[in-house]
């Protein structure tokens, strides 16, 4: 693509205000690849699992409000989070395809002097990186991860509902696998690859959430995974912080590193682990770093 693009970066509440080291790795990777982004005063996307369940109209209106901020600059949004991506994409599509809803939401936005036009697109960062090209990304790799077995976990809101988000295959996504393979690592097959991490139901009740997580972990460990690579902060938090609970729930012990795709890329581009804030992971990365000659 010859056109010089700049995206509005949408890190989201969880990454920005809870696990900012993910944002650090993403910004470093974008800089290295020459993908341009700029910030905006976005509010909460808002959460497709939480806020949409409370009041669909409020969810549409808040999502539309965020979209107007990017529309004002005529720039597409790149989201670092599955949840924010799904919300902004779904709101954009729902309002663009439903004149009645669009009118209703614009009546609400009129109170703050804004109009939703539907003039921009919303992208997940995996789409942006995959459009950039796994082969082109390979050229930046200085630390080869050959031999590393990766359990890829896209999470649910990256590729579903597929008719609307149109990112990847809804049940057999390939883009994350191809991006992981660009670092030399091997994406493995494991039986519960498409199982939800359990974060959603965890808002209601812990036991089923931890059981889903345990089933996911067991299946990946059985298949020989060294690490998980994820692309959603809700999945990341569920998988990084709840290993002990999931173990207790299922009479297991889980100690498996959880890496964000942008962290794997940053390391493979030769960036210093200390600068990435990897020490803030709850599932320790010490062994992983040592084994891979990064410490």
């Amino acid at each position: 693509m010859a056109k010089v693009e700049e995206y509005k970066l949408f890190p989201g509440c969880t990454i920005g205000n809870r696990i900012p080291f993910i944002e650090a790795s993403a910004r470093k990777v974008f800089d290295k690849l020459g993908i341009k982004t700029s910030d905006a005063a976005f509010a909460c996307c808002p959460d497709p699992v939480g806020f949409n369940s409370v009041d669909h109209t409020s969810w549409l209106a808040m999502g539309a409000h965020n979209l107007t901020l990017a529309e004002a600059e005529g720039k597409d949004i790149v989201s670092l989070c599955n949840g924010c991506f799904q919300t902004l994409k779904l709101v954009n599509v729902e309002l663009n395809n439903n004149e009645h809803e669009k009118e209703k939401i614009n009546k609400i936005l009129k109170g703050i002097g804004k109009v939703f036009k539907g003039s921009i697109n919303v992208k997940h960062f995996v789409e942006v990186l995959h459009d950039y090209g796994p082969d082109k990304i390979k050229e930046f790799v200085t630390h080869d991860f050959s031999g590393l077995k990766v359990a890829c976990h896209t999470g649910c809101h990256y590729n579903r509902p597929s008719e609307i988000v149109q990112t990847d295959d809804p049940m057999e996504p390939v883009k994350l696998r191809e991006l992981v393979a660009a670092t030399g690592a091997t994406p493995i097959d494991y039986s519960e690859e498409m199982l939800c991490c359990g974060s959603g139901v965890g808002n209601t009740e812990e036991a089923p959430s931890m059981q889903m997580l345990a089933n996911k972990f067991s299946s990946a460990v059985k298949a020989g995974a060294d690490v998980f690579v994820v692309i959603c902060p809700a999945c990341f938090q569920q998988m990084d912080t709840n290993q002990k609970k999931a173990g207790t729930q299922s009479n297991n012990e889980f100690k498996i590193p959880i890496l964000y795709l942008t962290e794997l890329f940053a390391l493979s581009f030769g960036m210093n682990p200390d600068e990435l804030g990897l020490k803030f992971h709850r599932a320790r990365l010490t062994d992983f770093l040592e084994k891979n000659g990064l410490k």
Binding site: A41, A43, V49, S53, V54, M62, N203, P208
Partner: protein, 165 residues
């Protein structure tokens, strides 16, 4: 006696943008693939929810002892993908959840989060410790959202009434 609530029935039918809900023939694929129904088959059953929704049997859904029958949904959208009739089940469940919240029957997590969004514009408001960490990581400050605009929007949608603000 079975009571059909036509107003409720209209609400779920109208909310469904493809109007495909009425074509459900109860094949059970949704429940087959549901990861929560797999673990808690007696407490969560998406096929059953859809049946009671399109028949307008409101009392079979709301007001029970265990709201897990609605809130057990983990929002994975797997049922949406598998449904041979292309029913967006998750969209229907969102209508049910909105009703459940308005009746004060939803888990408190949801209203607490909505309250944080109403007050600060963010589901997770900024905290000094994280702001320092951002600085250490060389990250720019998070640009603060326009809270007045957020409040104006959410008062207009009457979210303030739903969450008692």
């Amino acid at each position: 006696m079975v009571v059909i609530d036509y107003e409720f029935k209209k609400k779920v039918m109208d909310a469904h943008i493809h109007d495909a809900l009425k074509y459900c023939y109860q094949c059970n694929r949704c429940t087959d693939v549901c990861p929560v129904a797999d673990l808690a088959p007696n407490r969560y059953n998406p096929r059953n929810l859809i049946l009671n929704s399109f028949l307008g049997l409101r009392e079979n859904i709301f007001g029970g002892d265990d709201s897990f029958n609605i809130w057990g949904c983990t929002m994975c959208d797997t049922c949406d993908e598998i449904c041979p009739q292309k029913i967006e089940l998750t969209g229907v469940f969102t209508v049910l959840k909105n009703i459940s919240i308005a009746k004060g029957e939803g888990p408190e997590y949801y209203t607490i989060q909505a309250s944080a969004i109403y007050d600060s514009g963010k589901a997770i408001p900024p905290q000094p410790a994280i702001e320092r960490r951002r600085e250490q990581l060389g990250l720019p400050k998070v640009e603060a959202p326009n809270i007045e605009e957020v409040k104006t929007i959410l008062n207009e949608t009457k979210l303030n009434k739903i969450i008692n603000k």
